[in-house]
């Protein structure tokens, strides 16, 4: 079980998350949505212990992430399969080596078996026979898909995807949506997906949480959120630039 308890995080004067609390339902797809720069990626980094909260705690299966000593933290992270924004593939390794990496690190499987799993995962994301290519030769969408394959290689209990389809054409984006949906239905794992694409959110989400101005302004099932009478949520869903969400350019301090 994953629970955020009154989590706050700021960078200097910039308050990114302010007293955020929620319980992420197990075995479901939870989508975290919100405008750019509202802390969706930070929300995820808090979960896997890459960022420590200033206040509050994130609890996973009864353990407080920010209180784990670093040795335990590395063990703990094996529960997760994480896709970072833009894939974060190792550019010194081929596609195949990237997907094999978690298997080589954390299992004693023989080499043939690893190769089989790699082929299977790559096929599952529509990237079969690309194991000899280098990340630098791939398009953004292909990189995301390899990142997906790497994230699920160890069949983790909790799968976290940060914007798996941002910057992709609608057809590729939809194929990734289908892929996520299918993977989740098959594995029954807890999925947390960050997105700012409304269409894909309604297509694959079971639960939706919306971040805005440091707050989790809404959290509930897809139906609850769809019909929610909240200006911020409605503005976001209507893709309107008029409403409480305003595009504020980042402020530059004069002496910075």
């Amino acid at each position: 079980m994953i629970e955020y308890r009154n989590v706050s995080k700021a960078f200097g004067d910039l308050v990114v998350l302010d007293d955020v609390s929620c319980v992420i339902p197990e075995g479901k797809i939870t989508m975290i949505i919100g405008p750019s720069g509202t802390g969706k990626s930070i929300f995820i980094k808090l979960l896997v212990g890459l960022v420590k909260p200033d206040a509050g705690e994130v609890v996973v299966d009864g353990e407080v992430v920010s209180q784990m000593p670093s040795g335990e933290l590395y063990e703990f992270r094996k529960k997760f399969g994480v896709l970072f924004q833009n894939g974060a593939l190792f550019d010194s390794m081929t596609v195949g080596e990237n997907v094999a990496f978690p298997l080589r690190e954390h299992t004693d499987l023989p080499e043939e078996e690893i190769r089989e799993i790699v082929a299977e995962k790559l096929a599952a994301v529509g990237m079969a026979h690309s194991d000899c290519r280098w990340p630098s030769e791939l398009s953004g969408g292909q990189r995301n898909r390899v990142g997906l394959a790497r994230a699920i290689a160890l069949e983790p209990n909790i799968v976290v995807f940060d914007e798996p389809s941002s910057g992709l054409d609608p057809v590729t984006a939809d194929s990734i949506d289908n892929l996520i949906l299918e993977m989740q239905r098959r594995s029954k794992c807890t999925f947390i997906v960050v997105s700012h694409d409304i269409e894909s959110t309604f297509k694959i989400a079971d639960y939706i949480g919306m971040l805005w101005a440091g707050k989790l302004v809404a959290f509930g099932t897809k139906e609850e959120i769809r019909t929610m009478d909240n200006d911020v949520v409605q503005q976001f869903f209507n893709r309107s630039s008029e409403g409480p969400i305003q595009i504020v350019p980042p402020v530059c301090e004069p002496d910075a």
Binding site: F11, L73, A88, P102, D255
Partner: protein, 257 residues
């Protein structure tokens, strides 16, 4: 573990914060010396990279330094009519001072900058985050193999530098300055001890540790896109050359005074 970020302003507080971050980095590196897993392949790869990258540059640099050392020594000693003693000067200055320093600086310039840029790129591209999230501790995985490899390879490079520069000094002494070759070699051998050799190698190891630690640290704490990688590489060079020159004074005082 994320490194504490620098948020405060002002030079003094910046220096303190930077010092704190470096201390933290150093402590994490030392602590992970005893990590349950040793990445042996990475270690071998790094030894190979450091050795093969640096050797090609080390040969000419060592040769030219040896030649110059001989000429300069000759000019000074000739004033006292003691030009035949130049072999002694070459031997001592070389093994105690120049060879370790040259080897350290060349490894820094070749292998160190590459480390800073590689690790910096991995930091910027979130590859280090990815590594951590996959349950792999980056210190034993990519920092320690580099530092340990340098600690092991540098003494060998010091010896190579020593032989190449002494040989080139010998050639200059015999063919340009028309000194007696066997007298030159006698002086070289009678003026270096095994202890001097070992101390020169120890210096090399220390420089190796410093150069790689600083390079890795500079890359590891890079931030801010492609520009950040450039800054990190630049910082690595400035920091490591300053550190080598300074530590060399300390080591010479400790070892030879």
């Amino acid at each position: 573990m994320a490194l504490p970020s620098i948020q405060s302003r002002g030079l003094l507080s910046f220096l303190f914060a930077e010092f704190g971050r470096f201390t933290f980095f150093l402590m994490e590196s030392v602590r992970n010396l005893f990590y349950r897993k040793f990445y042996f392949t990475n270690f071998i790869d790094e030894m190979n990279t450091i050795g093969s990258r640096s050797l090609l540059v080390l040969f000419p640099v060592a040769a030219f330094i040896g030649m110059n050392l001989c000429v300069e020594g000759y000019i000074i000693f000739k004033k006292f009519g003691a030009q035949d003693l130049v072999g002694m000067f070459v031997a001592v200055a070389n093994i105690r001072e120049l060879s370790p320093m040259i080897a350290g600086l060349v490894v820094g310039a070749k292998a160190g900058t590459q480390m800073a840029a590689r690790i910096g790129t991995m930091r910027i591209g979130k590859q280090i985050d990815a590594l951590e999230v996959m349950g792999v501790n980056p210190y034993p995985y990519m920092i320690l193999p580099r530092i340990l490899a340098a600690v092991l390879v540098l003494p060998l490079l010091v010896v190579v530098t020593y032989f190449v520069s002494t040989l080139s000094a010998y050639l200059v002494a015999v063919f340009q300055l028309h000194l007696n070759g066997s007298a030159f070699m006698d002086l070289v051998f009678s003026n270096i001890t095994v202890q001097d050799m070992l101390k020169g190698m120890v210096k090399g190891s220390v420089f190796g540790a410093i150069v790689t630690t600083i390079s890795c640290y500079s890359g590891y704490t890079a931030s801010g896109g492609a520009r950040g990688v450039g800054v990190a590489t630049n910082l690595a060079v400035v920091r490591m050359s300053t550190a080598i020159v300074f530590i060399n004074i300390v080591l010479t005082q400790m070892m030879f005074m």
